[in-house]
């Protein structure tokens, strides 16, 4: 794999709320995403996944840390030119296809909106042609351009969201739960589309999802996040083969498998953060085997090392 990072997130913090209600939704998160790879972000509801995505596309303000895209910090105030560059190159497919499409606009407007904002000089004809191609690219008919979002099924709407991102020809796409509301077959279609586009256009993805069977299938590396902190990060194969952090273990044990006998005999492993003795013995972020990182204190590191042998 080409090991040039396209995106570097360093000690990222994002805070919400005012006064004594202020809290860190993202608390010191660091990771790199390499060109052409699919990087997965998994973790419980409310752990800060969407917030990280929104911070990268500059929708959430960064309270601390850096976000470096193609070698340049994009986290603070930017010149017009740079802002525009970020908008063009980084696109986000939003979590909820029902809520994220403007109900009153027709599909062609929805898809071309970003393009119109970016480049006012393009002619109507050029734009129409690009919308036409964007629709074909995601397996929709060009005729759909003049319809409204509510006239589509969930899977089709999700693809409209994807077309809207792709028309910008970004280098980097943040896909936030792009498939959770879809049935298995449409889910497979959307995943295939993302994979094919990656091959064809050398795209890089940050893929956020609850469904770990999908994460296992589509990502190259995964970070597991718990309450705003990354607790484990590794190449996908390694993480699923040798999960070390108890939260990762509980996540993996909870994946429902399509096998009734196995499912009915399964025992849940529930993670309780109180099992760590972090006050006396604080954790460190260490590389425990090549490319496999985990948050652990001395005692845990010894235990994990033994387990890896």
């Amino acid at each position: 794999m080409n090991r040039n990072p396209i995106l570097e997130v360093k000690d990222l913090e994002v805070e919400f709320g005012k006064g004594k209600n202020r809290f860190k939704a993202v608390d010191g998160v660091s990771f790199n995403i390499y060109k052409g790879e699919t990087f997965g972000l998994v973790g419980e509801s409310g752990s800060g996944k969407t917030t990280i995505g929104r911070a990268i596309i500059r929708l959430n303000e960064v309270s601390n840390g850096e976000i470096i895209f193609e070698g340049e910090d994009i986290s603070g105030k930017l010149s017009r030119e740079k802002e525009r560059n970020v908008k063009k190159n980084i696109q986000m497919i939003f979590q909820d296809p029902m809520a994220s499409l403007n109900e009153r606009a027709k599909v062609d407007y929805i898809i071309s909106e970003g393009l119109l904002n970016l480049n006012k000089k393009k002619s109507k004809k050029e734009i129409n042609k690009e919308v036409h191609n964007a629709l074909l690219n995601v397996g929709l008919l060009p005729e759909f351009a003049s319809r409204f979002p509510h006239e589509f099924s969930g899977g089709q709407r999700q693809r409209i969201g994807i077309a809207r991102s792709l028309i910008m020809e970004p280098k980097f796409i943040i896909a936030d739960e792009p498939i959770s509301a879809l049935d298995v077959s449409i889910r497979a279609q959307v995943l295939n589309l993302l994979l094919e586009l990656q091959k064809r256009k050398k795209l890089t993805y940050l893929f956020i999802a609850h469904d770990l069977s999908v994460v296992k299938f589509i990502t190259d590396r995964v970070a597991v996040i718990y309450k705003g902190k990354i607790v484990e990060m590794a190449p996908t194969e390694k993480l699923f083969k040798n999960p070390l952090h108890p939260y990762t273990i509980s996540l993996i044990s909870a994946i429902p498998l399509p096998d009734p006998i196995r499912e009915k005999n399964k025992r849940l492993k529930i993670y309780d953060s109180k099992i760590h003795n972090y006050i006396e013995n604080p954790p460190k972020w260490i590389e425990i085997e090549p490319e496999h990182f985990v948050l652990a204190n001395e005692m845990e590191i010894t235990k994990y090392r033994k387990r890896l042998k």
Partner: protein, 349 residues
């Protein structure tokens, strides 16, 4: 299910919608027996009619929808003849209750969760005041909300997604229904919370002797909760059987296609299987087997005549001409043979 007592009997149900002067047929003569105390899952493509089918048991069809044939027998009554809200009130919540996908849309954001449960209790049961409040707190404890008497006065937005879904379940069981229908109860939740909610539902089912019907796209969830599985396609149940029968020995080509699309069966770097074509147009009459146009293994007769049910075992049947004694032998796709061996023991717990 050794001793089988039917609690709900749906026979040849037809449900239609009026849409801009046209008629759409969402449920096409579907039949289903639900047994007391069982846990049944309904699976199938988006738009195949799972929600419409179950909503019709509770009088919750949208205004433009209507029942155009068939029966829904529940305790000696035929619910398909119910027209007035007054009649439905006796069924809804009290006999048959529903948990919807979006907890936020089924909770009132302006009322405390305790009050919402208390009101439901008072609407259906003969208790008031202090004792209905006590009952509400007991139910909150039952669904796993700790410090329930304190949490009684919280508003929905003060709860996490998983906790809100517990509250929705609390409201659903507050009036002791006999049947609980859960429509995508865990889709918005992460896997650990999903697993906890499923365990909760299973525990409540035992405790209250509930009959549960699950609707979900997640076949892992189905494997976890269901005794029996019904597979829906274009408004009809095309296959039904015990969970093991449907997962390990599926017979309908649509069930084959559905199982083949599982991400767990995908190989890294290769495309996942996905079903070709589009579902049938429900505004038009469907001829033969509705899945035939998308079925690479379709027989000639599939395009002409609607198949009846063929039994595979006393508990397993499917509507496909492939099961006709005169049909040629067609094997299911390789990938989904031996699903049990595929997952069994693959990862140790």
């Amino acid at each position: 299910m050794e001793r089988k007592e039917k609690i709900l009997e749906v026979k040849d149900l037809v449900v239609k919608f009026r849409l801009r002067g046209e008629i759409l047929t969402a449920i096409r003569k579907a039949s289903l027996d639900v047994y007391k105390g069982e846990s049944l899952a309904i699976v199938g493509e988006s738009g195949s009619g799972k929600s419409v089918f179950t909503k019709s048991f509770m009088g919750l069809l949208d205004k433009n929808g209507f029942i155009d044939g068939g029966k829904i027998k529940y305790m000696e009554k035929d619910l398909s003849t119910y027209k007035k809200e007054k009649d439905w009130i006796k069924i809804r919540g009290k006999e048959i209750a529903m948990v919807f996908q979006e907890p936020m849309t089924s909770l009132n954001p302006l009322k405390t969760v305790g009050k919402q449960i208390k009101e439901t209790i008072e609407l259906h049961r003969d208790i008031r005041g202090k004792s209905s409040k006590e009952e509400a707190i007991k139910i909150l404890e039952d669904v796993g909300i700790s410090k329930a008497s304190m949490r009684y006065d919280s508003y929905p937005h003060e709860f996490s997604g998983g906790m809100r879904q517990r509250v929705v379940i609390a409201i659903a069981i507050a009036c002791n229904p006999k049947i609980l229908i859960c429509d995508e109860p865990t889709t918005a939740l992460d896997v650990t919370i999903q697993a906890q909610i499923l365990n909760l539902l299973k525990r409540l089912k035992k405790k209250y002797n509930l009959t549960t019907i699950y609707i979900t796209h997640d076949l892992g969830v189905v494997a976890n909760v269901a005794d029996r599985v019904a597979v829906m396609y274009a408004g009809d149940i095309v296959e039904i059987g015990k969970a093991e029968e449907v997962f390990y020995n599926p017979k309908h080509p649509y069930t084959w296609a559905l199982l083949s699309s599982l991400p767990q069966l995908g190989k890294k770097g290769e495309a996942l299987y996905s079903i070709e074509g589009t579902p049938p147009n429900l505004f038009e009459e469907i001829k033969g087997d509705a899945f035939a146009p998308r079925n690479p293994r379709a027989l000639n007769i599939d395009f002409v005549k609607k198949p009846p049910y063929f039994s595979i075992s006393p508990t397993h049947k499917a509507k496909t001409w492939l099961l006709d004694p005169k049909a040629p032998l067609v094997e299911p796709p390789e990938g989904i043979k031996n699903l049990n061996k595929y997952f069994g023991g693959k990862r140790d717990e």
